[in-house]
C-alpha cells in the first residue's frame, strides 16, 4: 500500500429511489496531487463528492483517510470539514455583505479574554493568511467588492486555514476568465506543494491537462478507470467519458441523410422579431421537416430567440408568419394553438410540475389547449400517458408516480411526451439533453430526427457542438443577443461553428 494516500474511497454504491447513481466506485487521492474527476453530466461526479462530504448517505462501501484502517462516515458537511475535507463550490458559499476577514473566520472568530470578538487579531491573521497564499486583497474589504476569482480564492484560503487535507474544487473555473483561471492554478499548485490533495471537478479539458496529475473517469455511475494525465491523450479521455456509445452516436444521422425537399412556404417565418433587452431583431425561416440548430455561447440569446417566437417573452417588434399567414402571439397559449411546442431550458424551474403525476404532467399542455371546460376524461388521460410512457420508454414506477421522483432523463422524456401529445408542427427544444445520461441523450436525438422525417419543423438548442452536428441540418449563430449568421449543411463542421461563435469571421449572411 502506498504511504502517501490521504483519501481512499472503496466500493461506494448509492441509489436514488431505484436509480443507481453510483455502483461500486473506487477513488484514491494522494498527498500533494491534483486529481481530476471527469465524466459526462449524470456520470456520478457530484454524487460521489456529496457522498464524501456527507451531503448524501451511501448504501455500501467505505471511506478511509490518511491510510488509517478506520471507516470515516461524514454525516454532514460540518463533520467532513472537521475531518479535513473542505469543498469550494462553483457558486461561492460566502457572505457577500461581510468583509474578507469576517468571511475567513466566520464561525470561529478569535476571541479576547472577555469573550468578545477580537477584530484586531482577526484582521491581522487574515492579512497574514492572504499574504502567505499570495492573494492580493485587503482583509477589511467587503467580499462583494472582490472579483469572483478572488472570492473563490478566499473560499480556498478559508479551507486551507482550517487545515484541510482534502480540498474539493467543484467547477470553480466556470465563471472565471483566462487570467483568473491562471491565478487560481498558481494557488492550486502551491497547495499541492504543501501536500494538500485536491479533487478538481471541471468540464474544461484544457484545464485538466494544464494542472492535473491524475484523472479518474466515471460513466453512468461506474468507475471507468484512474489514469496518469500524461498517459491519457485527450481523444482517449473523451472516448472514455462517452464510452462505447461514442460510435453509435457518430452515425445516427446516417439513416436520415436522404435529402428532403422543402415546400415553398416555411412553417415559421420571423421578420425583425425581437424583445428589448434580451434579443435584437432577427429574421429566421424554418421549413417543414428541418432541424435548425441555434448555437452560441451561454447568454448569447439562444433561448431568448425562441422564447420571443413562442410568446414566452412577448416579441415587441417584427412580424411572424406561420405557414405563410401573419399571426400575433401574445402568450404561450396563442403559440400552442398555432401548433408550436416549447421544451424550456431549465427543466426544473420551467418544465416539470414537480408534485403532479407523470400522467398529469403529460396531459397538462393538451388540457390547457383544449380549455378548462373541455376536461379530458380519465380514460383519455391514461391512454395518452401510457402511449408516451411506452413510446419514449419512460422509466417510471407507474403513471401515477410524481414526476419529481423520476431521474432527470426520464423527466425530460415526460416533457417531450407532453408536447408530442399536442401534435405540434413546430417543436422547440432548448437544451433537451442537459444533465441527462448518454443513453437517453442518443434516444432523444434519434426521436428528434424521426420527428423531422415525419415533417415536423424543429429548433434544437444545445451547448454541445457535437450533438448539434449530429442532429441539425442548418444552424443559426448567435452572439451577444444578436443573430449574426447562418451555416448551411455543407458548412457544418466543428471548426466552422467555433469560428462563427467566436466571431471575427465574416460569414454574416
Amino acid at each position: 500500500m502506498e504511504q502517501n494516500i490521504v483519501l481512499e474511497m472503496r466500493d461506494i454504491s448509492k441509489n436514488f429511489t431505484g436509480v443507481r447513481a453510483l455502483s461500486h466506485v473506487d477513488f484514491t487521492l494522494r498527498k500533494g496531487e491534483i486529481h481530476a474527476l471527469m465524466g459526462e453530466n449524470g456520470a456520478g461526479k457530484s454524487t460521489l463528492i456529496k457522498v464524501l462530504t456527507g451531503v448524501h448517505e451511501f448504501e455500501s462501501g467505505s471511506i478511509h483517510m490518511n491510510g488509517e484502517n478506520k471507516d470515516i462516515i461524514n454525516n454532514s458537511p460540518q463533520e467532513a470539514q472537521a475531518n479535513g475535507i473542505s469543498t469550494v463550490y462553483q457558486e461561492v458559499n460566502l457572505c457577500p455583505n461581510l468583509t474578507v476577514a469576517e468571511n475567513l473566520f466566520i464561525g470561529r472568530e478569535p476571541r479576547n479574554k472577555a469573550g468578545m470578538i477580537s477584530w484586531k487579531e482577526m484582521n491581522a491573521r487574515s492579512a497574514k493568511l492572504l499574504e502567505s497564499l499570495n492573494i492580493n486583497v485587503p482583509s477589511t474589504q467587503m467580499l462583494d467588492e472582490c472579483s469572483v476569482a478572488i472570492q473563490q480564492m478566499i473560499a480556498i484560503a478559508r479551507a486551507v486555514d482550517m487545515k484541510c487535507k482534502v480540498l474539493i474544487l467543484d467547477e470553480p473555473t466556470s465563471s472565471l476568465d483566462d487570467e483568473e483561471v491562471e491565478k487560481l492554478f498558481v494557488l492550486m499548485r502551491r497547495l499541492r506543494g504543501e501536500g494538500v490533495g485536491i479533487i478538481f471537478v471541471t468540464h474544461f479539458l484544457e484545464q485538466v491537462y494544464a494542472v492535473c496529475d491524475r484523472i479518474t473517469v466515471l460513466r453512468n455511475g461506474e468507475l471507468v478507470g484512474e489514469y496518469e494525465t500524461k498517459d491519457l491523450p485527450r481523444v482517449m479521455l473523451v472516448a472514455k467519458m462517452m464510452g462505447k456509445d461514442f460510435d453509435d452516436l457518430a452515425d445516427i444521422k446516417g439513416d436520415h441523410k436522404d435529402k428532403k425537399v422543402f415546400s415553398d412556404t416555411p412553417v415559421i417565418e420571423a421578420k425583425g422579431i425581437g424583445h428589448k433587452g434580451t434579443i435584437k431583431p432577427f429574421d429566421l425561416k424554418i421549413n417543414k421537416g428541418e432541424v435548425i440548430g441555434l448555437t452560441g455561447l451561454l447568454g448569447s440569446g439562444r433561448s431568448e430567440l425562441v422564447r420571443s417566437i413562442y410568446g414566452a417573452d412577448k416579441a415587441d417588434s417584427g412580424t411572424l408568419k406561420v405557414n405563410g399567414k401573419e399571426v400575433k402571439i401574445g402568450s404561450p397559449l396563442d403559440a400552442m394553438k398555432l401548433g408550436m411546442a416549447y421544451l424550456p431550458e431549465d427543466r426544473k424551474a420551467e418544465g416539470i410540475i414537480a408534485d403532479l403525476s407523470v400522467r398529469e404532467n403529460i396531459i397538462i399542455a393538451m388540457q390547457a389547449k383544449k380549455g378548462m371546460f373541455h376536461p379530458m376524461s380519465r380514460k383519455e388521460m391514461e391512454e395518452a400517458a401510457d402511449k408516451y410512457i411506452d413510446m419514449l420508454q419512460i422509466k417510471t414506477a407507474s403513471r401515477e408516480t410524481p414526476i419529481k421522483s423520476l431521474s432527470g432523463g426520464n423527466q425530460q422524456k415526460v416533457i417531450l411526451g407532453r408536447w408530442l401529445l399536442t401534435n405540434p408542427e413546430y417543436l422547440i427544444l432548448d437544451e433537451p439533453t442537459r444533465g441527462i445520461d448518454i443513453g437517453t441523450k442518443t434516444e432523444i436525438q434519434k426521436i428528434v430526427l424521426d420527428l423531422a422525417d415525419q415533417g415536423m419543423a424543429v429548433t434544437f438548442i444545445s451547448s454541445e457542438v457535437e450533438e448539434m452536428l449530429r442532429t441539425c441540418s442548418r444552424m443559426a449563430v448567435l452572439r451577444d443577443g444578436e443573430k449574426v449568421g447562418e451555416l448551411e449543411e455543407s458548412e457544418l463542421s466543428q471548426s466552422n461553428i467555433m469560428k462563427a461563435i467566436a466571431g471575427g469571421d465574416d460569414k454574416n449572411e
Binding site: 402568450s331 397559449l333 420551467e350 418544465g351 410540475i353 414537480a354 403532479l356 388540457q367 378548462m372 376536461p375
Partner: protein
C-alpha cells in the same frame, strides 16, 4: 401483508385529518357521554353533534374558498371575515332601505342577495387583482381589506346595526319551513358539492394545482396563471359573501363589528388541519372541510367543558399545536425511524 395494508391506510392523505377529528370527538364522548345523542325537539334536530355541524357551516364555506386561494397562490386571504361583514351590510341595508330596524322588506330580497354577493365577489376581485396581476404577497394584499373591510361595512350601514326583523330573513340562519335540519348545514353542503363538482367537471382543479406548484411551467404549457389565481380570489370572495349572509341571517342583522370576526384564522387553520400545504400546490377540498368541522367540534367541546369564552383561545391553541405537530414531516420521520428501529431489533431477535 397486513403491515403493508396498514401502511397504505396510514399514509393516505386524509388519514391524519380524520384521526384528529375522531380524537376530538372521542374526548367529547368521554367528557360528555350524551354528546352523540340526537333528539327532536319542537320538530327540529337537537344535540351537541347537530350544534357542531350547524355552527361550523360558515367556517366550512370559508375553508372551501381558502383552500382554492391557498393552492393557486401559495398564500391566504385574510380578508374573508371582513368581506362577510361587507356582504351582510350590503344585504341588510338594501332590505331596510336605510332604516335601522324594519319589520318588512323595503326592497326585493333577490336584489339584496345578488348585490351582497356581487359586493363580496368584487372584494375578492380586488384581492385577486393585487395578488395575481400586481404580484403582491397575498398576506399583504388581503391585509388591506382585512382592515378596511369592516370600515366599508360601517359606511354602508351608516355606523348602525341594521336589524331585519322579518321571519323569512331568518330562514338562512335558522330553519326552512318544517325542515328539521338547520339551513346553514344545507348551505355548507350545497357549497361543497357545487365547488367539488366544478373541480371535477372542469379542468380547474388541475389548473389550480399546476399554477400553485410551478407557475412558470404552467404558463409555458399555455395556462393563464394570472387569470387562474384571480379567479380563485373571486370565488373565495363570493363564498365569503354567502357565509356572511348566513351569519347575518342568524342574528337577523348586519353587525359590522362582529360578523365573521377572527373567522379568517379558523379558515386558514382548517385548510392546514386538512393536510394541505399552505405554500400552495396539491390540495384536498374534503380535507379542509374535515378540518373545519374539527375546529368547530373543538370549540363546542371546550364550551361544553365550561371553559370561558375569553380563555377559549388558549385551549384551542394547545390542541392545535398537538394536531399540527402530529402532521409535521419531522414528527412523521421520527415515528418512522423509531418504528424501523423496532422492526430491525425484532428481526435480529428472530435471527438469534
Amino acid at each position: 401483508m397486513n403491515n403493508s395494508k396498514l401502511k397504505k391506510i396510514t399514509h393516505a392523505r386524509l388519514f391524519l385529518p380524520i384521526v384528529c377529528l375522531i380524537a376530538v370527538l372521542l374526548i367529547n364522548v368521554i367528557k360528555t357521554p350524551d354528546f352523540f345523542n340526537i333528539t327532536i325537539r319542537n320538530g327540529v334536530l337537537y344535540g351537541y353533534v347537530i350544534d357542531v355541524i350547524n355552527r361550523a357551516s360558515e367556517l366550512v364555506i370559508l375553508a372551501v374558498g381558502m383552500t382554492l386561494v391557498t393552492a393557486a397562490s401559495g398564500g391566504q386571504d385574510i380578508s374573508v371575515g371582513a368581506v362577510m361583514a361587507v356582504a351582510a351590510a350590503v344585504c341588510c341595508q338594501i332590505l331596510s332601505g336605510g332604516a335601522s330596524s324594519v319589520t318588512a322588506y323595503q326592497n326585493s330580497i333577490i336584489l339584496a342577495v345578488v348585490a351582497a354577493l356581487l359586493a363580496s365577489a368584487l372584494c375578492g376581485a380586488f384581492n385577486g387583482l393585487l395578488v395575481a396581476k400586481l404580484n403582491i404577497q397575498p398576506m399583504v394584499a388581503t391585509l388591506i381589506l382585512y382592515t378596511a373591510g369592516r370600515g366599508i361595512a360601517q359606511l354602508v350601514t351608516n355606523g348602525q346595526i341594521t336589524y331585519i326583523r322579518v321571519p323569512s330573513f331568518q330562514m338562512a340562519g335558522g330553519y326552512i319551513g318544517k325542515s328539521p335540519v338547520p339551513t346553514p348545514v344545507l348551505f355548507a353542503i350545497v357549497t361543497v358539492v357545487i365547488v367539488a363538482l366544478i373541480l371535477k367537471k372542469t379542468a380547474l382543479g388541475l389548473y389550480i394545482e399546476s399554477v400553485g406548484i410551478n407557475g412558470k411551467a404552467a404558463r409555458l404549457v399555455g395556462l393563464n396563471s394570472t387569470m387562474i389565481k384571480f379567479l380563485t380570489y373571486v370565488i373565495c370572495g363570493a363564498l365569503a359573501g354567502i357565509a356572511g349572509l348566513v351569519a347575518s341571517s342568524r342574528i337577523y342583522s348586519a353587525d359590522a363589528n362582529n360578523i365573521g370576526l377572527n373567522l379568517e384564522m379558523d379558515a386558514i387553520l382548517a385548510v392546514a388541519l386538512g393536510g394541505n400545504f399552505l405554500g400552495g400546490g396539491k390540495f384536498s377540498l374534503i380535507g379542509s372541510v374535515i378540518g373545519a368541522y374539527t375546529i368547530q367540534a373543538l370549540t363546542t367541546t371546550l364550551y361544553a367543558m365550561n371553559v370561558k369564552a375569553d380563555q377559549l383561545p388558549v385551549y384551542k391553541a394547545i390542541v392545535v399545536i398537538i394536531i399540527v405537530t402530529l402532521q409535521s414531516d419531522v414528527f412523521k420521520k421520527f415515528v418512522e425511524s423509531h418504528r424501523s428501529k423496532k422492526v430491525s431489533v425484532a428481526a435480529e431477535g428472530g435471527q438469534k
